[in-house]
Amino acid sequence: MLNGVQFGLMLFLLAAGLTLVFGIMDMINLAHGSLYMIGAYLTATFVGITGVFWLGVLLAVVGTALIGMLLEFSILRQLYRRDHLSQVLATFALILIINEVVRIIWGSQPLLLSAPEGLSGPIEILPGLNYSAFRLTIIGVGLVVAMGLFLLVNNTRVGMWLRAGASNREMAQAMGVPIKPLFTLLFGVGAALCAIAGAFLGPILAVQVGMGESILILAFVVIVIGGIGSVKGALVGALLVGIVDTAGRAFLPLLLSQVASPEVASNLGPALASILIYLLMAVVLFFKPQGLFPART
């Protein structure tokens, strides 16, 4: 359960960036996963150099945000006016490019990144129940970021400007909103969120080329379930997906083994568990074709 929450919140960090860029800037950015990867690699590198986990994370977040802004500034900016399909193709091309560049710089072997010393052990959260301290930290970070983002987008004027600019760029400018730097900044925030996710998932998963793609699909599932452009939707969607996925993997095989042989259970179990989140999405979309919290577009 807690694992589901933890996984969900990490997904949220990714999904939030994606939903911002997608829902607000109306830009399908498949390279989002690549920023996540860059974040993880930078974290691994900076932690290696400085030897201090938190400092490494901080540097990586800043670095990724800068890289993200650079990308926006140099390439993506030209794609806002284009249709979604061109954006898909262009950002897919970016995935390929970034993957190879990362491979050239860091090699194709996974990098190692360990949880900081103080958090690498278990702590007792309830009498008799141990839980990894690092994962608990992740939950905390995820929640804080979620709150912050929600407030930023929904309750600040900057958030309103962003949404206005997304729906009608020209009119927003005519109302005095400096769209270009604002979008660059927003893209940087999205990239920073990716980096946070990468930094904290790095020690749990592996830092490797291609780590972005599989999780990108999940992030898309999350924002679609939640409703594109809605931070609240991304949070709820991420938690749902995280919990359903983890619970499915933990309990479905057990459940199945009650009714079927372990062989069958072990064959069907993981497949069913993987199907579960897609089923969840299909069901949600069947009843709410705009996602749970139809975004404001």
Binding site: S86, A93, I217, I275, L279, F286
Partner: protein, 307 residues
């Protein structure tokens, strides 16, 4: 045929004489490559029908492709060796699947449509993976079937694929210029208006979706014959993405978009793979340049206006 009909005909002629020349010069390998390109051209063209002409961005097209391949493999495994059974069954199955999935997915629009088609494709993917008796994650060997008339060697498969591709392209050409095709495109252009002048939008879209599914299934069967193997990768989302890339690269809603995209992408990949292990970097750069400087895909470079 379109204005520039001589080019496809010349190409067809070249393709007809390619295998003997290739084997004379010791390049049989490329006969296989061209077969593969034609198979993907078929699959991409089927996707182009719904994505380009119908405006339905299906991110699950590999499902029909894969189901076609698996149908062929499983039938072969179960002892059905006649292509005259395998082909129709595979096509009907993928069509049926397209019907069921389309019927549900067409309730949604835009990105939600993209994602729900992906969801169904993923479900099918995981289902296939869970069928251990048919290879599960490791895929399933698919012996080539019996055509009765001729033996299916690499060369005959090449000609068979060429024939199928030519026939399908001709049929598609008729289709997009027929009443049906025109309505399909009008729906893409303005769905709500199409409905208000009296077109049952849903039925048109579903029909196109099923046709595309059947054709993708056919491509899948050919793929199974080609590699003699059905792998779950054929149904993976990456495969759907690959098909989409081909269509976008070639030209969305351009008649030759699917063919051009498949050929370009596969050939570029092939060449770059030979040159460097970082070949994806090259592919990425080329794709990026094309998007930035050829907004209507490669077909768009030939000057025919997209609708």
């Amino acid at each position: 045929m379109p204005r520039n009909w001589p080019i496809p005909l010349v190409l067809l002629g070249l393709l007809l004489v390619f295998p003997p020349i290739a084997s004379a010069t010791g390049l049989e390998f490329y006969t296989g490559l061209v077969t593969k390109i034609m198979i993907f051209a078929l699959a991409a063209s089927s996707l182009n029908l719904i994505l380009g002409y119908g405006g339905m961005v299906s991110f699950g097209h590999a499902a029909y492709f894969g189901v076609g391949a698996y149908a062929a493999a499983i039938l072969a495994r179960e002892g059905v060796s006649s292509a005259w059974v395998i082909w129709p069954v595979a096509m009907v199955l993928s069509g049926l699947l397209a019907f069921l999935i389309g019927a549900i997915c067409l309730r949604t629009r835009g990105v939600y449509f993209i994602m729900i088609t992906l969801a169904f494709a993923q479900m099918i993917y995981f289902l296939v993976v869970s069928f251990k008796q048919y290879g599960g994650e490791d895929g399933l060997r698919a012996r080539r079937p019996d055509f009765g008339l001729f033996e299916l060697s690499d060369t005959t498969l090449y000609y068979l694929t060429l024939a199928v591709l030519t026939a399908v392209l001709y049929a598609l050409y008729r289709l997009v210029n027929s009443r049906f095709g025109r309505v399909l495109q009008a729906i893409r252009e303005n769905e709500s208006r199409a409905a208000t002048i009296g077109y049952p939008v849903y039925q048109f879209q579903l029909a196109a979706f099923v046709i595309a599914g059947v054709l993708a299934g056919l491509a899948g069967v050919l793929m199974a014959h080609y590699t003699q193997y059905a792998s779950p990768n054929l149904l993976a989302w990456q495969q759907s993405g690959h098909l989409m890339m081909m269509v976008i690269l070639g030209g969305v809603g351009q008649f030759w978009g699917g063919v051009l995209g498949a050929a370009t992408l596969l050939i570029v990949e092939e060449i770059l793979q030979d040159l460097t292990i970082y070949w994806q970097l090259g592919v990425g750069l080329i794709l990026l340049l094309i998007v930035l400087f050829a907004p209507m895909g490669i077909a768009g470079l030939f000057g025919r206006r997209a609708r």
